[in-house]
Symmetry: C2
Subunit: 162 residues, 2 copies
């Protein structure tokens, strides 16, 4: 089981976006994090399709969070990039073979599927409890002023710093 690296990139980018009131192009985001521009663009498109961010077109355009960072959970981002389907998918092999489960027992989901689903629910709940604003606040507490530097850099080449 491997999660796409795009999830990590997207989380960092969305957290950065949550601190910027101005549209930020993919070029900037990729350079800031030192990752591939084109591949990051692919994931940003996924976030855009999911409605988490929206694009400002044209020159000086870029991406902007659709909602405040406090209203976007980490799970929202993970789901947008990684897809909504659960990692474990029951293929109902209990209905196969020489001793298939009877229609009676199949009324309820497979016990194994239930356990796996419960675990994924716990995982999802844990991610839903954290918002982008929480992430930003955490970083801000460990290294104060970091976001100011990011904000300053994001707008650095466009107009001079005050």
């Amino acid at each position: 089981m491997k999660m796409s690296a795009g999830v990590e990139w997207s989380l960092h980018c969305c957290t950065a976006l949550s601190t910027s009131a101005r549209p930020v192009p993919v070029t900037k985001l990729a350079e800031l994090h030192g990752v591939s521009q084109t591949y990051l663009a692919k994931h940003m498109q996924a976030l855009s399709r999911a409605g988490l961010i929206h694009a400002v077109e044209g020159r000086d355009g870029g991406y902007l969070l659709s909602r405040p960072g406090a209203e976007i959970s980490v799970y929202d981002v993970v789901q947008a990039v990684d897809g909504p389907e659960p990692a474990f998918r029951c293929t109902e092999i209990r209905q196969q073979g020489p001793l298939p489960a009877t229609g009676e027992a199949c009324k309820v989901p497979c016990g194994i599927a239930k356990v796996m689903a419960a675990a994924e629910t716990a995982w999802r709940d844990s991610l839903q409890a954290v918002t982008l604003a929480d992430l930003a606040a955490t970083l801000d507490s460990t290294s104060p002023g970091a976001w100011d530097a990011v904000r300053h850099w994001l707008s650095g080449t466009r107009f001079d710093a005050p």
Copy 2:
């Protein structure tokens, strides 16, 4: 993020093994669940390497649980088949780009990595709380006598039923 189908197969097989005191060959397990013998064999090898089951060689051999089903958690099986490394891997992109995190901030793990790790811990804890014996008991409560049928079938072609 996709989990290997072998996880589902392995869980079903291990649960079946937990009800059998006799070695069960892969051939039987695959036929019972209606899956590929050779591919299932691959996953059973992984379980064997992990020490969850051990092979009885030679004729009338097969696989046997190394420990009682009550002492093997669902997570043990998942980890054996799926691998121990977590789904989310922090690549420390905070240290890249024009504004890398300073050595001071890197003393503590990345906030995003911490959140993802906490979620995976919740997932793991959920799976560790359930044992193979629990799974067997659940199925037994929904369709009583099912395991007797399985036990009977597993030894069916080898010696006559009582």
